[in-house]
Amino acid sequence: MQNEELISKLKEIIAPYIQDEDAFKNLSENTDFVKDLKINSANLVDIILDIEDEFDIRLENEDMEKMLDVKAVMEIVNTKLAN
């Protein structure tokens, strides 16, 4: 999947959980879910479940452990989709 396409899908998934509009508007690969978007840690699991549903993949504990920013999520999703 093209990076722009992936980022725009991720933006849609993340949108309901963000608590910082400005950081969301400027979302890039370097955006951090907690530090920048102020997403509550309990909602990180919702994002993970939404990603699983959207891309029809399963994320393990080792994957989840790193999923703190957009870049890490993109890497993990791309790896899963390639397998």
Binding site: Y17, D20, K38, V45, E52, K66, L68
Partner: protein
């Protein structure tokens, strides 16, 4: 050192659905899922366990500065009134206070009484709320240690772990801050 986590019950009902498929399996061990299943109030049990894990994580990352998302590996044990959380070879003791409005958990390395202060946030903007909690914490430290509030500063590390500074010097005082929905909590620890 101390780790604190607060959960706003109204906010949680709005923003999380613990009954969605695979939610419990992602966050909770089989033992914890059993506790939830057996509980008279599964909603409260889910979020009590969650807040215990969060408080323990906040304590752990003060000892091992890092960031990661692995709530399932922070394993809760509830035996009578004795609440423990373990992660690898780390172990801590957690006190939980449950009101009709919030669930508050406080983690220590030893058995301690709960000392966290809880604040109801009257404004609704997230950044302003966050500021209010920090302000309340600074007032509390200023009173407790008889120092000028204007010289105190809360600084977060690259891992998001807060410390307290006086005149640009880091104080040997443990702090922990939590914010969720319309509630905030903080704790101060001398050891």
């Amino acid at each position: 050192m101390v780790g604190v986590d607060i959960i706003d019950i109204v906010e949680t009902k709005k923003s999380s659905n613990w009954q969605r498929p695979r939610f419990l399996e992602k966050l909770f061990t089989l033992n914890e899922q059993q506790l939830i299943h057996d509980s008279k109030n599964p909603f409260i049990m889910v979020w009590q366990l969650w807040s215990m894990k969060e408080a323990a994580y906040k304590l752990y990352t003060q000892i091992q500065p890092c960031r990661f998302y692995n709530p399932k590996q922070f394993q809760c044990e509830i035996n009578n009134a004795n609440f423990k959380v373990t992660y690898k070879d780390f172990k801590c003791f957690v006190n939980t206070k449950i009101s009709s409005q919030y669930i508050l958990s406080e983690a220590h390395l030893e058995h301690r009484e709960i000392t966290s202060k809880c604040i109801k946030l009257l404004c609704s903007n997230y950044a302003n709320q966050s500021q209010m909690i920090k302000e309340a914490l600074l007032v509390s430290i200023s009173n407790q240690f008889k120092v000028l509030k204007s010289k105190l500063k809360i600084v977060k590390s690259e891992f998001g772990i807060p410390s307290i500074y006086y005149n640009s010097k880091k104080l040997n005082v443990g702090i922990s801050i939590s914010h969720h929905g319309n509630y905030g909590a903080y704790a101060v620890s001398l050891s």
